[in-house]
Amino acid sequence: MPSIDDVTNTPDELSDDDATELFEEADLVQDMMGEVCPYPQVEAKKGLQQLESGDLLVQETDHVPCTENVPRAVGDDADAKVWRSGDATYRIYLRKR
């Protein structure tokens, strides 16, 4: 059977409040503004390698495809959630498994 991940493209989206609250918990924040693929993917993988299980990595990005590609790239290494600000900036929350 195909898993649900085969048919959904985007990870869960966070509400504005949740996004702000979670952001304070971040163990590592990566500034990816002005970066394009595939560098945020590579940095996310490197960032997760430094973290412990349960730690939270947040990427701030203005590159639309990253919201899908970064969670895909880290795969099973982390649970991903995304926040869209509505004015072309995004945050990707990755909690290491």
């Binding site: 048919v7 493209n9 002005g34 394009v36 595939p38 560098y39 993917q41 490197k46 639309v64 899908e68």
Partner: protein, 391 residues
């Protein structure tokens, strides 16, 4: 140019730009992410668009609703130029079409990439007389041809046939992957033989299920058209839209190309600031074919791709003037130069050779597509050298 021609060019360009933007239809993504971590969502979109376009172009050709094919001479130039282009587009982070739609989304980095592609075209043009007698003379093997025009099989049937073969091949791969997983490590030879026979069937069933799920999702999205239109779209939806635009373009003009018209834009813009573009052999007699350096209909179409991407990005809340990080500037400069030069050395870009070229069954494009994908593979491994690639 006749007004109706201009309107078709504007319509096709705008539609292509909008579908590229909404589907994040990026050829770098399609191959790079497949090599890096086996993500095949965009790869499937690219394959779907190419195969669908092939079927409909074949039918249009068979019934005479077409203008011209684009079939450059074939040879090793496709491998060399394609490889350089593939390296360039992976380093730049956007292919020929990706650079255009991201320019429309407001990425200053990709405007710089476009500028450097222009420099690449201009440098190639200056070197063309020498390259023509050395590089092209040495590496060209034969006249270019589209398989649609040389077989006795009706073109429409040939298109459908190739698409079915590709689908069964794809299904076999998918099916084999899932049966291997099912049997696990204890699989013996007999089981694997059985698996090989069952693989296409299992794969086709999965394909049918996936397509049905996709169709249901599309139907659900139609219930809230405005909200859904602002969300990112499935690359397969973009594939359908791109196919429709490309079929219209094929009946009215030719195949869809990007870097050819861009190289013409470079000649035209330089001629506007006093450069005698017409006196250069490559612009004068090759690209503008002795018609004089002026705006051609495919140049208009390409310009509207940026407009379409801009409109779609504004509508979706994805437009912003994005300033690149300084450490990303080499990607735009070097990537742009390599794409500009590589696309002329092949000739053709990812759109001309992978999408359009395979869809029109051009022998040259089969070779160039291999070159481009090889370039992406090598560059992806270099970029991912610290974290490793899946394939």
């Amino acid at each position: 140019m006749v007004l109706s021609t201009l309107l078709v060019a504007a319509l096709v360009g705008t539609a292509l730009g909008a579908f590229l933007q909404k589907g994040r239809f990026c050829f770098v993504n399609a191959f790079r992410d497949f090599f890096a971590y086996k993500d095949s969502r965009v790869t499937k979109g690219v394959l779907a668009a190419t195969l669908l376009t092939m079927v409909f172009w074949g039918i249009a050709y068979q019934f005479g609703y077409y203008q011209t094919f684009w079939t450059p001479q074939w040879g090793l130039t496709g491998l060399v130029g394609g490889f350089i282009f593939g390296i360039g587009m992976t380093y730049a982070g956007g292919c020929a079409s990706g650079t255009l739609y991201r320019a429309g989304e407001g990425y200053l980095q990709f405007w710089l990439t476009l500028l450097c592609m222009g420099i690449g075209y201009a440098a190639f043009t200056v070197a063309f007389p020498t390259l023509d007698s050395t590089y092209f003379a040495a590496l060209t093997v034969g006249e270019g041809v589209s398989l649609f025009t040389v077989t006795s099989i009706p073109a429409g049937l040939l298109g459908v046939g190739v698409a079915i073969v590709a689908l069964i091949g794809y299904a076999t791969l998918v099916g084999r992957a899932s049966t291997t997983a099912e049997f696990g490590e204890r699989a013996d030879v007999a089981q694997l033989h059985l698996g090989a026979l069952r693989a296409p069937v299992i794969g086709l069933r999965q394909f049918a299920r996936g397509t049905a799920t996709y169709a249901r999702g599309l139907a659900r999205a139609w219930r809230t058209p405005i909200a859904a239109s602002k969300q990112p779209w499935d690359p397969r939806t973009a594939a359908l839209g791109i196919t429709a635009a490309a079929v219209l373009w094929f009946t009215q003009h030719s195949i869809v190309g990007v870097t050819g018209p861009e190289a013409r834009w470079t000649g035209y813009l330089l001629s506007q600031v006093g450069v005698e573009a017409n006196s250069f052999e490559y612009w004068g007699s090759v690209l503008f074919q002795g018609q004089g350096v002026d705006v051609t209909v495919d140049m208009v179409m390409i310009a509207f791709v940026i407009v379409g991407a801009f409109l779609a990005a504004v509508w979706s809340g994805d437009f912003a003037v994005r300033v690149p990080k300084r450490r990303r500037l080499p990607n735009a400069v070097v990537g742009g130069l390599l794409m500009g030069a590589g696309s002329r050395l092949a000739p053709g870009c990812n759109i001309g050779n992978i999408y359009s070229g395979i869809a029109e069954l051009s022998v040259h494009s089969f070779i160039a597509a291999v070159g481009i994908v090889a370039g992406v593979y090598v560059m992806t491994h270099w970029i991912y050298r610290e974290v490793g690639c899946a394939i």
